[in-house]
Each structure stands twice: as structure tokens, then as C-alpha cells.
């Protein structure tokens, strides 16, 4: 059931959400200090190399090295995010959408890596959006260092709220549960569709078009919507059981896959028969 249309470029639909997130951050945080700018440039190295056609996996270490330097600086300064080390890390975090964009463009055609990368890109954009909102609400100066602090605070609140839900609380504040920015919500939806279409792209290059259209797209999207709605309904009453049910469903599907896809016994391997006379010739006959 392969589509005769090449939908592989659909992966580019992930880029708008990253671009929007990066621009929103940049416009909010200008003017940017030199250290933060260095962090952004370090984060931009893999994407620039990829666009210049000099894709080298070693370049991914440029942002990693900058991140390590920033962490060491912050630790040396007592852990405050508003210090120079915090500025560098804030710049790196600001440039994270650029690293993710390079990661989205880098995988080979039909690679499954695109799916988790899309998820990470959306989560990063949501966290950025929530962090900016928190920065504005708190009345703090819009600097990369303060943005880093807000980002960490949002992540911490999300994890804390999630832990409360699992612990039995009927409700908890989850900063990422709702999109605060409708544009970002639209772009995230677009990115998900792009990742999904990239999955639908044929994985076998010499594939032939099917004799009937694929129902995969509609069926799986419907299943996803129904499952999410069921989760929401159950979660409204008892979030713990909703999470448990979701986990059980996922585990059941994985178990069914493993059960059905058991490896068959290895086929018998034959070798070409050698001439009979050679078989009968003892290798040590000369001794």
C-alpha cells in the first residue's frame, strides 16, 4: 500500500515549528550578550555545515563542547544562571532549535529517527513558549541567563506536576499541557503531520504502487484521536488510571508484535557439492 507520490520532503514540515520557536526567542531576548551569541553560533555549526554540504558528524561536538564549557563556568560561579556561564548556556538553549533542525535534516530517507526528533522539537518549542510566558509574567529582564532559569523552572514544574498525578493527585499544574500560543499549536500539528507523512513514505526504493489506496493514514489518525480522547476522558476523573491504561495498552501492543513476529527457525544452509574424487582424496595423503 505504498503511495506513488514521494512524500519524503514532508519532513521539512517539522522545520517551521523550530524556526518559529527560535525567532520568537531571539526577538524577545535581544540585545544578546557576546557569550550568549557565542552559544548560539556554536549551536548553529551543525546546521551551517549541513546546509553548506559539508556534513560531518564530528561537528555535532561543537555545541556539546560549548555546553560543557558553560556547565563548568556555572559550577565555578556557584550555580547562578545569570552569571557569564549562564549566559553561554542560555545562548546554547536559545540555539537548540537550530541543532534540532540539523538533526531533522540529517537522517537518511525513511529513517525512524525523524519521529522522536519531531517529538523533541515540539516539546522544546512548547517549553520555550512557556518559559517566555513565565519570563514576562515574572517581570524579569529578558536575558539569556534569565531565560535559562525560566526554562529550567518550567521543566521542573512539569516533572513535579507529573509526579503529583502519578502519586494520586486529582489535578496538578502542568505548564506544557496546553499551548499558550495558537500559532505554535498550528505549527506543531503541521510538524506531526509531516513526520507522519514521512513515515508513510515508501521505505523500499524499488516499491511499486499498490492497487488500492492505503487506509493507514485515516485509520491510524482516527485511532490516535480516539485513544487520546479516551485518555482525556478517563484522566479527567482519575489521571492515575488513565496513565496506567495508556501504559497497559502500549505494552499490550508491543507484546502482540513480539509474539506474532517470532523468528522462524533458521533455514537449512547448503553448500555446493565438491567433486567426489576431491572428497575422497585425503588431505594428508602425502605424509
Amino acid at each position: 500500500m505504498r503511495s506513488p507520490v514521494d512524500v519524503e520532503p514532508a519532513r521539512l514540515l517539522v522545520l517551521p515549528v523550530l524556526g518559529y520557536s527560535f525567532l520568537a526567542l531571539l526577538l524577545t531576548l535581544v540585545p544578546i550578550s557576546g557569550l550568549a551569541l557565542a552559544g548560539i553560533l556554536a549551536a548553529a555549526v551543525p546546521l551551517a555545515a549541513l546546509l553548506a554540504g559539508r556534513s560531518q558528524s564530528a561537528l555535532i561536538f561543537a555545541p556539546l563542547a560549548a555546553w560543557l564549557a558553560g556547565v563548568l563556568l556555572v559550577l565555578g560561579e556557584g550555580g547562578a544562571p545569570t552569571t557569564p556561564g549562564g549566559e553561554l548556556l542560555g545562548g546554547l538553549l536559545l540555539g537548540a532549535p537550530l541543532v534540532l533542525a540539523a538533526c531533522v535534516l540529517w537522517p537518511a530517507r525513511g529513517s525512524p529517527l525523524l519521529l522522536p526528533l519531531t517529538g523533541v522539537a515540539i516539546v522544546d518549542a512548547m517549553t520555550n513558549s512557556a518559559a517566555l510566558a513565565r519570563l514576562g509574567a515574572g517581570g524579569l529582564a529578558a536575558t539569556p541567563g534569565n531565560y535559562l532559569g525560566a526554562f529550567l523552572s518550567v521543566s521542573s514544574d512539569q516533572l513535579g506536576g507529573w509526579a503529583d498525578l502519578v502519586g494520586g493527585a486529582s489535578s496538578a499544574p502542568l505548564p506544557l499541557q496546553l499551548f499558550t500560543d495558537p500559532v505554535l499549536a498550528s505549527l506543531a500539528l503541521l510538524a506531526l503531520v509531516g513526520a507522519f507523512l514521512a513515515f508513510v513514505a515508501p521505505g523500499i526504493p524499488e516499491g511499486e504502487p499498490a492497487d488500492r489506496p492505503s487506509p493507514t493514514l485515516i485509520l491510524s489518525a482516527s485511532a490516535g484521536a480516539l485513544a487520546a480522547a479516551a485518555f482525556e476522558l478517563v484522566a479527567a476523573g482519575a489521571p492515575r488510571f488513565a496513565l496506567l491504561g495508556l501504559a497497559a495498552a502500549v505494552v499490550a501492543v508491543l507484546g502482540a508484535i513480539l509474539l506474532l513476529a517470532r523468528a522462524p527457525p533458521a533455514p537449512r544452509v547448503r553448500t555446493a557439492p565438491a567433486p567426489r574424487s576431491a572428497d575422497r582424496t585425503p588431505a594428508t595423503s602425502a605424509r
Binding site: Q177, P264, R268, P275
Partner: protein, 439 residues
């Protein structure tokens, strides 16, 4: 079975679920669940709807394949396939080829819908690269899920066939030489010698290769002819000594030093087979003696030697000419001409004492070393590696020159050969041996 791609997508979908659960955001949750449903649904549905491998019944009949090939020759292979299953399937059938039989033209695979009773044909040509017995097939039936996340495969039983890649068969070559018996000469190769022995030895059943003049008419009955055997004064024994160390791998596949040596040795075998009373033996050596056949005659002996020559492959170990000569000195009971095909990679110091002893028993050694500098076609000007190849060729030429000079100083005739083959120098040497007893 889940493919590597399928396992990757399952992992990716699970990571998506985890991210969605982390955010608990409706849009992300819908997207992640949709992708998980797509991946999981395809995998589960494929395994439920696909017939098990044991039910992928196909009938395969091979036509057109020759069972014997010469190195470098091509063979047309055709498969007539009939689907014997009960329900329609979309499957790919692929005839599995060994790397030693590369595809020359056509396609080895066929992917289509199969309905019960459907027939189709796969046709392609292979080129024989290296000597040996190679298995063409078996046929693999593969069913893949729409996005190649899972597959089911079955190897069709009894759908393979061996193809032997051998040098031009000595027996066939000798049959082509047949008419030349009337003239007694073919080229410079003396096939018959005057003066067969006159001392009666025994009677034996007539063989096709026997001279009609030796038929014992009074002892023969229709269908059971007998021939007289005589002790022959000028019978000569030949031993083909082959270096099967990895040093003989120099050259392109199917045209390397060992291939060329085997072609020449096969020619000697064919000539001996057609020549009255001569006998021929074989010793292959690498690290230790690998095979030894004492000089003998007879249809079975010649066929056995031809097959063993055809299937010789390089093995680990160094060729020690001195040790090989010591072995032959011990084993050979009558004077013999030893035609040695060796890269001369082993130590040459032990050759001198071994050769002195060898000569003292009346044996003669003739060396045919490959000039490995001449086993690779020249690279185009400016091509990467050209300089390295030239350097390696110069080094090899110098090494071979030193070895040849050292061996010739010992009185051993040496006839180097290159990728064009060793048949020229071998035929010259053999013709001289038959005519004058020395090359």
C-alpha cells in the same frame, strides 16, 4: 519477523508516546498515538494476515543453465515459477546468487501479485568469476509489510543447482587434439614418439584412447577387445607441483596467478592423457603438502587430477620449495620431470641442498613463477593509487629478478609468466621434454 526498520519505528513510536505522556498535551498525544497506532497496526495486521512461511508454496523449474562453465564465461539461467498457494499474495521471489557468480544481465528477482496457479519466468545471465563449485539458488520468497516494517521469508527447498566453474576440461581439449594424431604433431607439441617398447607386459581391455595397432586380435572377441601393453623405453613421468599459498592470488578474479597456473597444468594433463605411455602426478603445497597423487595413467586418474586441479583454492601457509622437493625425492620412484608453478615467496636457501639431492636421483625441476607485476592491468593516468601500484610492481619485478637469478644459478630452468597465461612457456617446455628429454 520485524525488520531493522520496523524495530526502529517501534522504538521511535514508543519514544513519541513517552514525550506525549511527559507533556500530557492533547495535540502531542493525538500525534504520538496516531503514529504508534500506525506502526503497531501495520505490524500486527501483517503478521495476522500473512500466510505462514510454510504455506508459501511455489514450484520452481530451472531451465537453460549449463552445469559446467569456464572462468569468464557467461551462462543464461531461466526459472519457471508456478504459485501453488491457495490465496493471493504480494511477494518477491529472488534467486540467490553467490558472489563468485556475478549477474551479467537480466534480473534475479520478481515482485508481483501471485494468484493461485500463476506462472512467471525469471531470466538472467551470470558470469563465472572464479573456479569452483558454486550453488545457484535457492529461491527466496519474501513478503514485506507495506512500509517494510516486517517480513516473512521462505527458502524454497530443492530450488538450487550447482554450477562448476572449471578451466577448459582437459578431456575435451584432448578430444579436440584427436585429429592431430594422424599427423603425429600439433604445433610444436610432439604427440607420438617412434619406438614403442617391444617387451610384452600384459593384456588389458581396450580403451578408446588406445592405438588400434596394439589390439590383440586373436585374443579379442566382439565387444571385448584386448590390447597388448608393452614396457616402454621412453616413457616419461611428469609431476605438476602447484603452490596454493595466498601469494598465488595476485591478479583479477578468475585470472589470477593460480588460475593461470591451473590452466597450464590442465593443458599438460591433457597432453599427457593423449600421449601413449607418459604418466602424470600432482602435488599441491602450502605450509604442508595438501594433495599428492603419484604419477599414473588411466581415465579415472586423469579425471581425478583434472577435477582436483579445477577446484584448487589458495589456503593459508607458505610454499617451501625445498621441502616440496625433499618430499618428491622421497616419494618418486622413477625419474620424473617436475613442473612447478610457484610464486617463490618461501625461503630459497633450503632449495640448493634439496635440489642437489633431487637431481642426484635423476629428477628434473622446471619452474614457472608468476610475474605478479604483470597481473594487473595498468591504471588510467592520474588515478588514485597509480603511484602505489607502480612502486609495488617495481618492487615485485626486482624481487622476482633476484629469485630467478639465484635459481638459474643453481641450474634450474625458470620460465616466468604473466596474466596472459602460462600455457605458452609450459607448452614450449613440454614439447622440448617430449622431443629431447630436456627443456
Amino acid at each position: 519477523m520485524i525488520s531493522r526498520r520496523g524495530a526502529g519505528f517501534v522504538g521511535a513510536a514508543v519514544v513519541g508516546i513517552l514525550l506525549a505522556v511527559y507533556t500530557l498535551n492533547l495535540i502531542v498525544l493525538v500525534g504520538a498515538l496516531a503514529i504508534f497506532a500506525a506502526v503497531g497496526g501495520e505490524l500486527v495486521y501483517f503478521h495476522l494476515a500473512t500466510p505462514p512461511a510454510s504455506e508459501l508454496e511455489f514450484g520452481v523449474r530451472r531451465t537453460g543453465a549449463r552445469r559446467g562453465l569456464s572462468p569468464g564465461a557467461t551462462a543464461e539461467i531461466a526459472l519457471e515459477i508456478t504459485y501453488l498457494g491457495a490465496r493471493p499474495i504480494f511477494a518477491e521471489l529472488r534467486d540467490l546468487l553467490p558472489s563468485t557468480l556475478p549477474r551479467d544481465s537480466g534480473t534475479t528477482a520478481l515482485k508481483r501479485w501471485w494468484h493461485p496457479g500463476d506462472r512467471a519466468t525469471i531470466g538472467y545471465a551470470v558470469r563465472a568469476a572464479g573456479r569452483g563449485s558454486h550453488l545457484v539458488g535457492p529461491v527466496a520468497v519474501t513478503l514485506r509489510s507495506p512500509h517494510a516494517l516486517a517480513w516473512v521469508q521462505r527458502i524454497l527447498p530443492e530450488s538450487e543447482e550447482p554450477i562448476r566453474v572449471v578451466p577448459p576440461a582437459p578431456i575435451a581439449r584432448s578430444q579436440r587434439l584427436g585429429p592431430a594424431l594422424l599427423t603425429g604433431m600439433q604445433g610444436r607439441l610432439a604427440l607420438r614418439q617412434r619406438g614403442f617398447g617391444s617387451e610384452f607386459r600384459s593384456l588389458r581391455p581396450y580403451q578408446l584412447t588406445d592405438d588400434l595397432r596394439h589390439v590383440a586380435w586373436k585374443r579379442s572377441r566382439p565387444g571385448a577387445w584386448q590390447v597388448r601393453e608393452f614396457d616402454q623405453e621412453n616413457r616419461q613421468d611428469f609431476v605438476l607441483l602447484l603452490d596454493v599459498s595466498e601469494g598465488m592470488l595476485a591478479g583479477l578474479p578468475g585470472q589470477n596467478a593460480l588460475d593461470r597456473a591451473i590452466e597450464a597444468a590442465s593443458l599438460v594433463l591433457a597432453a599427457v592423457a593423449r600421449n601413449g605411455e607418459d604418466r602424470v602426478g600432482l602435488l599441491s603445497y602450502a605450509g604442508r603438502p595438501r594433495q599428492y597423487f603419484a604419477p599414473a595413467r588411466g581415465e579415472f586418474h586423469f579425471r581425478r587430477l583434472a577435477e582436483n586441479l579445477a577446484f584448487l583454492q589458495p589456503v593459508d601457509g607458505l610454499f617451501d620449495l625445498g621441502a616440496a622437493l625433499d618430499l618428491l625425492t622421497r616419494r618418486l620412484t622413477t625419474n620424473a620431470h617436475v613442473l612447478a608453478f610457484t610464486a617463490l615467496d618461501g625461503p630459497l636457501a633450503p632449495v640448493r641442498p634439496a635440489h642437489l639431492k633431487f637431481r642426484s636421483r635423476g629428477h628434473h625441476l622446471y619452474l614457472f613463477p608468476p610475474n605478479r607485476a604483470g597481473f594487473y592491468p595498468p591504471l588510467p593516468e592520474g588515478r588514485a593509487g597509480e603511484l602505489a601500484l607502480r612502486w609495488a610492481e617495481a618492487e615485485e619485478r626486482a624481487r622476482l629478478g633476484r629469485s630467478v637469478a639465484e635459481l638459474r644459478a643453481e641450474g634450474i630452468p625458470v620460465f616466468p609468466y604473466d596474466r596472459r597465461g602460462a600455457t605458452g612457456p609450459v607448452l614450449t617446455a613440454y614439447g622440448r621434454l617430449r622431443a629431447w628429454g630436456l627443456a
